[in-house]
Symmetry: C2
Subunit: 204 residues, 2 copies
């Protein structure tokens, strides 16, 4: 991460801040950071979770690896440096969404512990819910929903996480979902239960 | 702007999209892009507008030049290239907020027509409300709320818009606010009236 020259930039307090927006929404803002191998189920769970929460009147947003690289991060490639900058920007956007009282789901491979730790630091601890979406490599390679593992094995894609680039498993995430052992709906309910326990959503 | 390698990145349709979020919020998403010289009143109007809308139950967000450079764009300086990248990223975040059904106020000098045109192109025309926050240079230099014009005149700040960097006035903005001739409250009401006319907010 580059240095941050904040010279001649002053912090401004706004009339409507996070508490006012959370009061309007009747829930708190938070970032549900889904990390895991390609094909582990991150995007599926983010989508289902958004639908589940939306049906209860919760204000949600999804930042999806497949989507955001078309926009904000379309200038970034897949080198370690680019992946780090990718995650940094996403974490900053997630922080903004949280500050606007929105429960945002972030679904990115985010393979490096140091990047996820930076994202947590950017967010602030209580706002950051790290969810390890876990399935063994042989399972996700068998699923291969986008045919990317096949391409990576053939050498047509370089630096593919799990094949020729590392995935560093979370050591102490808020939640682990075993998507080869439970249904997506069960995974979603586990996240919702965590959001209630953490006081982000009200108890039913 | 760099090229956008979207190879191996697929667009995913999500269950909860913009129409569903706008239905929950009971208003549409849009970006109110406030452009003008430092000291013209952009941030004041963004803040008052957010408060005015929030009091009606509208879901708002403010992206403020002073704030966002501490976070997402803390790696960017003030060269023409950095200003362009600054605006590009802000436009992408504003687009995300609009897609989440939020009325977002963007308060940045954004001095270059080409950058504002790019921002409009990123957003899509109907979602982008360009508001020229106008006051003559001698008025804003007299106001000088942060003492920046004084520093710029002394040569302590380089490339300062209006002094030794250009401000290109909008040719065909959706709205012009003359902040030396009207109160901030009057400016805010003019924006609200436009939002109603455009069907972004419901008629009262």
């Amino acid at each position: 991460m580059k240095g941050c020259p904040t010279q001649n930039v002053t912090w401004r307090e706004l009339t409507i801040g996070r508490p006012e927006r959370e009061a309007l929404n009747r829930h708190k803002g938070a970032t549900v950071w889904l990390t895991g191998l390609s094909g582990s189920g991150k995007s599926t769970i983010a989508d289902l979770l958004a639908a589940r929460l939306h049906s209860e009147g919760v204000h949600t947003a999804v930042l999806d690896g497949d989507n955001i690289r078309h926009g904000l991060n379309c200038d970034l490639g897949f080198s370690p440096e680019a992946r780090t900058e990718n995650i940094r920007r996403i974490a900053e956007v997630a922080k903004l969404l949280t500050s606007f009282g929105i429960i945002n789901m972030v679904a990115f491979i985010s393979p490096y512990s140091s990047d996820r730790d930076s994202a947590r630091k950017i967010q602030g601890d209580g706002d950051f819910i790290e969810v390890f979406v876990h399935a063994p490599l042989e399972v996700v390679e068998e699923r291969d929903p986008k045919g990317l593992y096949k391409k990576a094995r053939l050498g047509l894609i370089k630096e593919f996480t799990g094949i020729d680039a590392p995935y560093e498993e979370p050591v102490n995430p808020e939640l682990v979902l075993h998507t080869h052992l439970e249904t997506p709906e069960e995974s979603v309910e586990a996240v919702v239960a965590h959001l209630r326990r953490a006081g982000i959503l009200k108890e039913e």
